[in-house]
């Protein structure tokens, strides 16, 4: 018995770790295994046809790419600017603490509540309607806390001597930030930005009421119109379609494209981080 105990103990921990790996392999394996045969050039370059039982996912790909771009354009300037304020300017006052508390709380707000906020503010309040722009703005808000946190971390790693050198040769604080601090922190900022965007690209709940559509027949994403997106397309094909069993292969194909988009964005972020860490060392 005494000899067995270490094996049981060790086995428990190994079982837990194995279970986590099993989940990952199950997810990737199932989607890649069953989606790969569907993934052809035709699948990613044609419109859905015959009530979405045939054809491809081109409008959903374009929709997701456009949506992610708008999210970046909204969230990056605001997020980076807020992080610069917090790290470079903010005195330790109640206002600063309130801003930090707000960021932490925003990060914990469920994504469906961002959807409600986008609906109330952009769709109805600002009369932007259910559109690509409304959805992009909503996802932009959702991404802000993550971009601020990662940017601030990148800024914090810049040594004080960088700023002091700029100030010492007569630069104003703004010039020091613009010409020294931000360019030095750029790889770190980009890593955080791309990781955040990969999250935003996979989000469904916030765009449900703010602009995503079952089907549109033009692949060019107009800013003021409804759009298709990969995550919603997958949701729709797997739960809402009249012929669910018949479109299952298409659902697998869509899932594979979605996962590829997310993983490509993730790998880009890790590549930037890796290259930067090598340059530093």
């Amino acid at each position: 018995m005494k000899k067995l105990t270490p094996i049981i103990e060790w086995g428990t921990l190994l079982f837990c770790t194995g279970l986590v790996c099993f989940f990952l392999i199950l997810i990737i394996g199932d989607i890649v295994g069953k989606g790969l045969s569907v993934l052809t050039w035709e699948f990613v370059s044609t419109l859905p046809s015959k009530g979405m039982t045939k054809g491809g996912v081109l409008p959903a790909i374009i929709g997701t790419v456009m949506l992610t771009l708008i999210t970046a354009l909204v969230a990056a300037p605001f997020g980076i600017s807020c992080a610069v304020y917090l790290n470079e300017y903010a005195p330790n006052t109640w206002l600063t603490r309130l801003i930090r508390a707000s960021i932490r709380n925003l990060a914990g707000v469920p994504s469906i509540i961002y959807g409600l906020f986008g609906l109330a503010l952009f769709v109805q309040g600002l009369h932007m309607g259910t559109s690509l722009l409304s959805a992009g703005f909503t996802l932009g808000l959702l991404s802000l806390p993550y971009i601020i946190t990662t940017t601030e971390e990148a800024l914090r790693r810049i040594p004080a001597s960088t700023r002091e050198a700029a100030l010492g040769v007569g630069a104003t604080q703004f010039e020091s930030i613009r010409d020294m601090v931000l360019p030095t922190a750029l790889p770190g900022i980009l890593t955080g930005l791309v990781l955040t965007l990969s999250r935003a690209a996979g989000e469904t709940a916030p765009i449900l009421f703010t602009g995503v559509a079952f089907y549109i027949n033009n692949p060019t994403g107009y800013l003021n119109q409804e759009f298709m997106a990969l995550p919603y397309h997958l949701y729709m094909l797997s739960t809402q379609h009249q012929a669910i069993e018949e479109v299952r292969p298409l659902a697998y194909g869509t899932a594979l494209v979605l996962i590829l988009v997310v993983f490509i964005l993730n790998s880009t972020a890790f590549y930037i981080r890796y290259k930067h860490s090598r340059n530093e060392g």
């Binding site: 610069v84 469920p110 509540i113 961002y114 906020f117 949701y235």
Partner: protein, 296 residues
């Protein structure tokens, strides 16, 4: 450029940066105000007591009933199930990573966990339909396995990366002298782990659990796809349930603007918001506690 012009630009830039900081407060305030405003509009039309204690959610029936209990119990049931799976597995994996795994194994496992965290929720929900549902259906002798257990397993998968990462941080940040003292007294690795390392990192582990709970409570797509969404009062893990998030997702698209039904969805969102807020605040309290500990 003139010095005075430079100073003006410098000052303007500072104001602009500060304005974006204040914008963040405005966004949180805006979300809070929107929820509160619509909830008040709802509570004028429906008695608060009926809302909190009502056991039936049927806004399209006549008379319409707006009882939040079935939704709240569903949300709590699925979250509880998810945590019963994710907490032991998460702590076990974190312990394996920080105490047993070699550097080589860690270098493989850590990116794998990050990859799991990156999988979109809708893809996990899809797996719940195509892989988990037939299995669970067979297990419970029902035509499909779209029930609370399915949602709980999926939410556990989604909460695991958060729980593992934060727990491992907590285990790792413990001063080595704790373990050395334990080894010195003749305890083996397992005894040290169970009696010293895990109890001493309890605040950090609690923070990890709270962050996981917060994620599970607010998750929409996986539960929407995997739990079957029957609006009856939840009866157990092998029955279909409908969470707060799923109810909002299903009904918001169909309701006319500014009706009682429309307001009611904001009211249940407010309850969800308060729940996640409390859970996150508790989590933050313990994160600060173990950070303080780490510094000392």
């Amino acid at each position: 450029m003139q010095l005075s012009a430079k100073e003006k630009i410098d000052l303007t830039a500072k104001w602009l940066f500060q304005a974006t900081g204040i914008l963040i407060i405005a966004i949180l305030g805006g979300i809070f105000f929107m929820l509160l405003w619509n909830t008040i509009a709802f509570l004028i039309q429906v008695k608060p007591l009926d809302f909190i204690t009502g056991t039936q959610w049927n806004p399209s029936g006549s008379p319409a009933t707006y009882g939040i209990l079935p939704l709240l119990v569903s949300t709590c049931l699925v979250t509880l199930g998810a945590m019963l799976i994710a907490i032991p597995v998460g702590i076990g994996t974190a312990a394996f990573l920080s105490e047993y795994a070699s550097k080589h194994v860690r270098n493989i496992l850590k990116p794998a966990i990050e990859m799991l965290a990156a999988v979109p929720s809708v893809a996990i929900g899809f797996l719940g339909i195509v892989v988990l549902s037939p299995q669970l259906g067979e297990l419970s002798n029902q035509p499909n396995g779209l029930n609370a257990l399915n949602g709980a397993i999926l939410l556990a998968i989604m909460a695991l990366p958060t729980i593992i990462t934060v727990t491992e941080d907590a285990l790792h940040s413990l001063p080595p002298s704790y373990k050395e003292a334990s080894f010195g007294l003749g305890a083996n690795r397992w005894q040290t782990l169970c009696k010293i390392t895990i109890p001493a990192s309890a605040p950090g582990i609690l923070a990890a659990v709270m962050l996981g709970v917060g994620r599970a409570l607010g998750e929409t797509m996986t539960v929407l796809m995997a739990t079957g969404n029957a609006s009856a009062f939840p009866k157990g893990f092998f029955h279909s349930v409908r969470t707060i998030t799923a109810t909002i997702a299903i009904e918001m698209g169909e309701v006319p603007y500014q009706t009682t039904h429309y307001y009611s969805l904001f009211a249940i969102a407010t309850v969800l918001f308060l729940f996640t807020l409390i859970v996150n605040l508790i989590g933050e309290y313990y994160v600060n506690k173990f950070k303080k500990y780490q510094a000392a």
